[in-house]
């Protein structure tokens, strides 16, 4: 890794000493602490650094290695898939996608590297961009499969014009979607039983005339009866123009109390889509006496 050309975020003073020293941050005044810190910094050099930023810009004529914003060999990637499959990608890194006015049309994109607790891999727009980059799939395929934990997607517009496939499959824990748009698609967010602590905050789900089935659903990605999904948080989001239930926690066994979903659905707005066949929220699972599913302070209108 050529760390010298990678843009890094400022290291907070609260970061561990070794990290601060490794990044050229403030140093301890005590020599013994300094020696210890230097030793740790050498050790730290053997592991992947974090906090780097990578760039994606589909207006560049050629693809670079993603490390700078200027088109060229060290310029942006041209696709989101290339950025997410970057072998140098590490926990805490940020992938910034430029909103060029041209959609990022891609096939199924998988995550390849895991984030870590407190060091999610973040996929977001360019700093300073007011527009959100539009990520559009080719027809008939799932747009994004998040199968590594600790990812955050912020300020991305996911657009799918065919109902035949889902937008996102969440197959790992601690994934966050914030300030994102989900337009049309099959299931916009389809969560497996490995998707604990999924957060969906301040997002918009627009079926655009019954062209999105469930906006958010669980229990459909090959789960076995008796699955448990905890920490689901769907907050401050808007749901409109849907077809089926906007949110459905699903079990298909025909029996009750087999599957468990806990968490909160809080502060959202659900608006009936003309012709919508189902409900705002459909809970088919049980929660727990010590870990509830709380449906709180939502506004549900129409039907």
């Amino acid at each position: 890794m050529n760390a010298s050309v990678r843009t890094r975020r400022p290291t907070p003073m609260t970061a561990p000493v070794a990290e601060r020293v490794a990044r050229g941050g403030s140093r301890p005044t005590d020599w013994s602490r300094l020696a210890a810190a230097l030793t740790l910094s050498v050790l730290a050099a053997g592991v992947a650094a974090y906090g780097a930023e990578y760039y994606v810009d589909n207006s560049c004529p050629t693809a670079g290695d993603g490390t700078t914003t200027t088109c060229g060999a060290q310029g942006p990637f041209r696709s989101i898939a290339a950025a997410l499959s970057n072998p140098k990608l590490a926990a805490g890194d940020v992938i910034r996608i430029r909103a060029t006015g041209t959609d990022y049309v891609e096939g199924t994109v998988d995550t390849s590297k895991a984030g870590a607790a407190g060091q999610a891999i973040t996929v977001t727009r360019y700093a300073g961009d007011s527009a959100r980059p539009v990520w559009r799939r080719t027809s008939g395929v799932t747009m994004l499969v998040v199968d590594e934990p600790h990812y955050t997607f912020d300020s991305i517009s996911f657009v799918a014009t065919a109902e035949s496939a889902d937008i996102v499959h969440v197959r790992a824990s601690n994934v966050t979607f914030r300030n994102c748009d989900f337009k049309e698609g099959g299931y916009a967010i389809n969560i497996s039983d490995a998707g604990d602590n999924l957060t969906v905050d301040a997002c918009t789900f627009d079926g655009n005339g019954n062209n999105q089935k469930h906006s958010i659903t669980t229990g459909r990605l090959g789960v076995t009866a008796g699955y448990t999904l905890t920490g689901l948080a769907i907050t401050n989001s808007r749901f409109m123009n849907g077809d089926q239930d906007y949110i459905q926690t699903f079990e298909d066994s025909g029996k009750c109390r087999q599957d468990t979903v806990t968490g909160r659905i809080e502060g959202n707005t659900f608006t009936y889509g003309p012709g919508q066949e189902e409900n705002a929220i459909d809970i088919k699972n049980t929660a727990l006496e010590t870990d509830h599913l709380k449906i709180d302070r939502n506004e549900i209108r129409g039907w």
Partner: protein, 231 residues
């Protein structure tokens, strides 16, 4: 609009469910609990329905579904909800047994309705384990309950506002906060929610105290997130 099929320990708090007047209203149930599918469901427990506002639905709350084999419901709490402008009238329609629970501090507006506040369809369902008291109802020309319940008085206590206008701020504008001087103020009993005055108010909107009263103009959309929600 919201279905809970077999969902134990689901807490439904402080939501606004408004079917409006333009949609198909079919089935138009604000909240269905233990809605049955083929095969029926076992008893459902730990459901809390607290502090919600239900408007323009056929029924505010339905227990069971068209399948009368739907499972029993137990340990249910229905507290401090406001229901108004219901098309078929019932605050709670019961199509299954309710083996235990409490119905308290709710405020039901049956204006223009001949329905009952608490309706046991067909009279075949046992809800004798349901404790119902300190609720307010008004506007209906019919009885308060068709269920076989061990209670007397108005569902089922005499400290309600039966037959009298509870004094909503703006009924036609869907503003169901209580005016000062409302007969529903301080007519509830403590159920674990914060309240002002000598006792909790009936319904979803506690008067007085901080934060200040909602400043939305009359007739505007009620925004629950700006109301005094201190449960």
């Amino acid at each position: 609009m919201v279905l809970q099929h077999c969902a134990d320990y689901v807490l439904f708090h402080d939501n606004l469910v408004d079917a409006g007047t333009d949609g198909p209203c079919d089935p138009c149930i604000c909240l269905a609990v233990s809605a049955s599918t083929a095969g029926g469901h076992p008893p459902q427990t730990g459901v809390e329905i607290v502090g919600n506002t239900f408007v323009n639905c056929k029924y505010a709350i339905l227990f069971g579904d068209s399948d009368t084999t739907a499972g029993d419901v137990g340990n249910v709490k229905i507290l401090n909800n406001t229901a108004a402008k219901l098309r078929s009238g019932e605050f709670i329609q019961v199509k299954t047994d309710i083996v235990s629970g409490t119905v308290r501090n709710n405020l039901w507006d049956g204006t223009g309705s001949t329905a009952t506040a608490l309706d046991c369809v067909g009279g075949a369902h046992d809800i004798t384990g349901l404790v119902a008291d300190h609720n307010g109802w008004f506007g209906s020309s019919s009885q308060q309950s068709s269920c076989a319940m061990d209670c007397t008085g108005d569902i089922c206590d005499g400290t309600d506002t039966k037959g009298q206008d509870p004094g909503f701020v703006n009924w036609s504008g869907n503003d169901f906060r209580l005016q000062s001087g409302s007969l529903a103020i301080d007519k509830g009993v403590p159920v674990g929610r914060a309240y002002n005055g000598a006792a909790p108010d009936l319904g979803a909107y506690e008067t007085g105290g901080t934060p200040p009263p909602d400043t939305d103009p009359p007739g505007s959309v009620i925004n629950l997130r700006r109301m005094d929600r201190r449960s």
